[in-house]
Symmetry: C2
Subunit: 453 residues, 2 copies
Amino acid sequence: MADFVALERWLEDRLEASLDELRRLVAQPSVVAQSLGVDACADLVAGMLRTRGFRVEVLPTEGSPVVVAERDGRSDRTLVIYNHYDVQPPEPLDLWTSPPFQPALRDGRLYGRGVSDDKGHLVARLHAIDAILAAQGELPCRVKFVVEGEEEIGSVHLPSFLARERDRLEGDACLWEFGYVDAQDRPQLHAGLRGICYVELRVRTAARDAHSGVGGSIFPNAAWRLTWALASLKGPDERIRIPGHYDKVRPPSVRDLELMEQAPDKTGEFRGLYGVKRFLRGLEGGVALRVAEVFEPTCTICGITTGYQGPGSKTVLPAYASAKVDFRLVPDQMPEDVFRGLRAHLDAQGFDDVETVLLGGTGPGRTDPDHPFLAMVARTAESVYGAPMQIVPMIGGSGPTHSFIDILDLPIATAGMGYPDTRAHAPDENIRIDLYLKHAKHVVRLLTAFGES
Amino acid sequence: MADFVALERWLEDRLEASLDELRRLVAQPSVVAQSLGVDACADLVAGMLRTRGFRVEVLPTEGSPVVVAERDGRSDRTLVIYNHYDVQPPEPLDLWTSPPFQPALRDGRLYGRGVSDDKGHLVARLHAIDAILAAQGELPCRVKFVVEGEEEIGSVHLPSFLARERDRLEGDACLWEFGYVDAQDRPQLHAGLRGICYVELRVRTAARDAHSGVGGSIFPNAAWRLTWALASLKGPDERIRIPGHYDKVRPPSVRDLELMEQAPDKTGEFRGLYGVKRFLRGLEGGVALRVAEVFEPTCTICGITTGYQGPGSKTVLPAYASAKVDFRLVPDQMPEDVFRGLRAHLDAQGFDDVETVLLGGTGPGRTDPDHPFLAMVARTAESVYGAPMQIVPMIGGSGPTHSFIDILDLPIATAGMGYPDTRAHAPDENIRIDLYLKHAKHVVRLLTAFGES
């Protein structure tokens, strides 16, 4: 029987040392989209795992390497822990209060790019493992880490990697890379993630920009071509116009709706944190907004760049334009189908001059919200958070859940230190130190229960 | 009777000194859109005019100052010479072969931002004046310079300035700031310019960017709002959809069409220099393309900026988006009407969240192509270029012709050193030294003839 009081005191006493380790990890940039520091960060993570007595391999893929680590435990039960060491680009830099790769502690929060997504989760889990090893000399169960380096660009090479390494990665369940508490600090367990299909659209209409007084009436304009192509994808009614796009959409089940009914209301968070004045399609809140948030496919313009973007005016006719577009996918939409549908749609609409480049894609993935592993993850949170986790069938974000569920045949559950103001993917990304500690405590409980199950 | 042989030898002998003066002027940045070096450049121009014995004043406006200079001549005939000392932004900097504000001579061409548009024209004209003064001690006619500093942003404050200073600027005719030869070095005289209405569209949908996994289905997206607003302005049929936009468009006259029939064919230039593969609306060349180029209103997206624009992917939902849009106006469209129509259209289409900011505007302006002043400008070119100038009723670009024609009641004629590869507004802007010299020679002839007329 584990002495949780002693284990938790250990976690508290050594918190500073753990945060120092996190600071070192955050200070190592690993912006996969910009090929910045990726290999160095993989090596750093591998070293951190070796220190804990894990057998570690840094396995190459066609993209970023994957760090795989394993350590046996008292029982033969195997928990796979999925994390990623890559981070989002830090831009726009001028909106950061302190530099993104110089972690800074302010008001009980640690700020830095990747501190929440996902380096804090990895290091807090190592902190939990350290506590157990210090007290017991061994882990309650076998633990396998899969720490990839392409999550932020759609885990491009992870599915083929998991298929190739399936035997090595056998297990009984998977702890997902992130997790959230709601605005009242109630922990949420998400049983599924949407998929994603991330595409860049590119148009070149001429060899170089022209004076708009010369070409305005007679030259094709890349900015116009792109604008029209984008407008053909979705109209102000928010309905995606690609033929067949909704064909494979599975609506939420009665059980899903029952759970969504109990899920926390985030309208206050959306209005307060993001300053959103009104939601799309007249949604005002309640279960309808929550269901729309996670059970619907999306088509989001993430960025557009073309022509002159500086102050004042420049009378130029752009020869090149590009946009980044992210489609979130719900069961059973698959990225390759969506990408094929997009191309066919653009061709049919006369936009064969608009090039489509697939930058990343992964299918949606769900575990049955009533799976016993999820019940265990939820239950073991109770003594730490004062209440068991609330089970929410889906979250709006994406990750390679599809591969873990389909290829490795693992149930997945989220748990972590994210909170409404954590600003993942945005300037001033941060974690709350109290939630960091709570997550470590929860992982101690979970590993213990998992070993005994 | 002027000794043109001696005058032309003088121009040739002292060409290097004149180019040195041009280099000094180009080395002084004067990017009005970026408030860079404007006042310093005005002072530099004023000094250059004082050196030639002009009475000079640097007159303030609410924007850039206007340099006004006057010198009497043998006759009471007054030629107003319009130039501007401001230049386009130099971006994109990485496409310049040599730095934009460090003039560089290569293969008989001088490169630098503003070397053609419009500093070369100003200095070549001063070179012509120097030659006459050196030979004759006085000018054949009175010359008044109006050198403004906001041409590249639509001459925002020039109309009210001209109205205020009307008496001081009285004259008989106006030599315009630029002019072109065609691909066969045949000089062109343009008798009119289109107007312009330059607008920035801005949308803010939230206080800050959101994770696209969270907001994709429920948050308004600034990039989408802007895309749809832009798409409402013009469709792939190139027809501008703002109600009433074409109401005041005056079609070209029979005489215009006759002159356009004789105007040079530029399809080779468009295909070769710009790499344009096909023209809009199936136009292939001939008079139809030439008429479309200059006699039609345009709506050009000059730039769009929103969200993530770096390499790879970033799953962000942009809170802010903006676009620069340039409307070229033909007689009798006026910028204030177009701006009002745009606003009303956006409101009617449900885009009251899209802010419109007028960055500059000027009406179109034309002189009768058969005006005797134009005939004189054309005729005096013959001995320099081997042929008289070809009179073309309109050019696609814009400038404050409307104000010079309507407020000062002057006929205008273009003449200058521009040529198809001059790259005004683009990287590697340049002039050919041979055309620089020819323009100076032409101005010597023109001033002489004008004084005698």
